[in-house]
């Protein structure tokens, strides 16, 4: 209960600031409109309401975005090309597939790196270099390139998600798999345990907290990867396409609605990973 109040206060402050900013940012265009209609001396309250109900505002008011989200999800057939739920599902499926690929690739690379000094030296620089390339430049090449050889739809987008999400998993898991203390490793040696047993009974469980921390970052950037990949293929659909068409047509409300759906999706996904983490932690005897 004592957490509700601060959260609510911040939320109200943000919404209030947003409405105020909407007045300020939409005012020039509203003035132009009013001048054209020969409306003068509009009272402030009325003027504010005008700025909050424009068709294509510079900054849509919160209630405009909310009603757009409502109309484009609950209030629309799921199969409609204008349904945000439909586009959200397209993005979500690419995100999840890419996240699964990325996590698997990240774990495999980390395992190779900790067990083999040569792969540590040869792989790590490339892994780091891969993340310095702007994804906005790579995504179209991958999507268009794969499209040219007949691979379209989900997989090219998932590959971009994977490209982004494997990185935190590699870095986290290398650290995690190396986290057991010397004394715990010595113990395994006194039992003459084989490397397989050392991995499954010591390194893997010790790496769990690192895996989940990495996956939380990974799933959020997976979504970004999917959205960026969608920008390169307007016919494929997805939240990225809604952002793109919205900006072509000046449909700011549509852009903001798509943005909020994407942000909400990311928050839900991170929360799901978080609850999986709590479940695993409780199975592994963590302090309640």
């Amino acid at each position: 209960m004592n957490r509700v109040l601060p959260v609510l206060t911040i939320l109200i402050a943000i919404v209030a600031f947003w409405y105020a900013a909407a007045i300020w940012m939409n005012a020039p265009w509203q003035n132009t409109l009013n001048n054209r209609a020969n409306l003068t001396d509009v009272p402030l309250i009325e003027f504010a309401q005008q700025t909050w109900s424009q068709d294509k505002p510079v900054l849509p008011a919160p209630h405009q975005v909310v009603s757009e989200i409502w109309n484009a999800t609950i209030g629309m057939e799921l199969t409609s090309r204008r349904s945000l739920a439909y586009h959200g599902w397209i993005t979500l499926s690419a995100t999840l597939l890419g996240f699964a690929f990325g996590t698997a690739l990240g774990v495999l690379l980390a395992v190779a790196i900790i067990h083999n000094d040569a792969s540590d030296r040869s792989l790590m620089p490339w892994i780091i270099a891969s993340q310095t390339v702007p994804i906005l430049a790579v995504a179209p090449m991958v999507v268009v390139g794969l499209g040219a050889i007949g691979l379209t739809g989900l997989v090219p987008k998932a590959l971009i998600s994977m490209y982004l999400s494997f990185f935190p998993v590699v870095v986290g898991m290398v650290k995690g798999l190396r986290s057991p203390e010397m004394i715990q490793l010595d113990l395994m040696r006194t039992y003459d345990a084989n490397p397989w047993q050392v991995f499954w009974k010591l390194r893997w469980p010790a790496a769990m907290p690192f895996l989940f921390a990495s996956m939380k970052v990974g799933i959020a950037i997976s979504l970004i990867g999917a959205v960026v990949a969608e920008l390169s293929n307007a016919s494929g659909g997805g939240l990225g396409v809604r952002l793109l068409t919205g900006s072509y047509n000046g449909q700011t409300i549509q852009i903001w609605a798509a943005l909020f759906i994407a942000a909400g999706l990311a928050a839900v996904l991170v929360a799901i990973v978080g609850s999986a983490e709590r479940w695993v932690n409780s199975r592994m005897g963590a302090r309640a």
Partner: protein, 286 residues
């Protein structure tokens, strides 16, 4: 047929002899001119220098000395966690590596090294899982060893739910669970307060009497060494070496108040003298 067996037995014995050690059925650990040097940038560190020691079956041997005297290094060499650089070291007539691979010893570290994601019973079962014991055998051994260290009833607890002394008892149970005849203990009670330590010491003696294991025990406490041991190895640093080996005259049955008897104090005084003699050596380095 019988003759053939005897011949084979004899030839095995002579083979053991070829290793350079005298055939001694009772010797569990035999070190001869053992040296161990750690390479370091500014001159090598001599952790062990010309250590000669024989430990027989059923003995309780304490290693005592100031830090840097090589007592832990010697224990780790027995466990094949460090490689000696000179001399010979055999465990049950085998090389340390062969002994480790035959799971000849249980090792108790300074910290309990319990895996925090395993319950106490799962921690104790860890070596059994690795060594491939059946589930039924695991359960039976876990039950028996937890009884041995008085931890029955704590099977399902996680390590953080236990006190430090109980955690260390659990780690002793883990070292006992696969029934190795040799128990190597590296300052197992060093981090515990004196009351808990006294209690665990007397429990350890009872456990030793019941299981008849050979125990090597590293400590830096004189009363602990004298109270527990049948043989006390006094060591001194720079280079790490054995300066005195004291055979205890105390009876096997030792109540805690034996520590007030003149006999006990006499042995303790001899240990202290040995330590002091070793210490004056390195004062010139300070």
């Amino acid at each position: 047929m019988k003759q053939e067996l005897r011949v084979r037995h004899l030839s095995e014995k002579t083979q053991n002899n070829a290793g350079g050690t005298a055939p001694d059925a009772a010797a569990v650990i035999r070190a001869e001119h053992l040296g161990l040097t750690f390479p370091a940038g500014d001159g090598d560190i001599v952790a062990l220098n010309d250590v000669n020691l024989t430990i027989e079956k059923g003995e309780f041997v304490s290693f005592i000395g100031p830090s840097g005297c090589g007592k832990t290094t010697f224990l780790r060499a027995i466990a094949d966690l460090e490689r000696p650089t000179s001399g010979t070291l055999t465990i049950n007539g085998m090389s340390p590596e062969a002994a480790r691979k035959s799971r000849a010893y249980g090792y108790v570290f300074q910290a309990s090294a319990l895996y925090p994601w395993r319950t106490i019973e799962k921690n104790v079962a860890l070596p059994l899982e690795i060594m491939g014991h059946s589930a039924a055998d695991q359960a039976e051994r876990v039950k028996r060893t937890l009884e041995l260290v008085n931890l029955s009833g704590f099977e399902k607890k996680y390590p953080w739910q236990l006190s430090g002394g109980m955690q260390q008892r659990a780690s002793i149970a883990r070292a006992l669970s696969f029934d190795a005849d040799l128990l190597l203990m590296d300052e197992p009670f060093g981090a515990l307060d004196e009351i808990v330590r006294d209690h665990l010491n007397s429990e350890l003696l009872k456990l030793w009497a019941r299981t008849e294991k050979t125990i090597c025990f590293v400590t830096h406490s004189i009363p602990e060494a004298v109270y527990l041991s049948t043989k006390i190895v006094v060591m001194s640093p720079r280079p790490g070496r054995v300066t005195d080996v004291i055979v205890s005259t105390l009876p096997k049955e030792r109540p805690l108040d034996i520590r007030e008897t003149p006999e006990f104090l006499e042995i303790a005084a001899r240990v202290r003298d040995g330590l002091r003699a070793g210490h004056s050596y390195d004062e010139e380095h300070v």
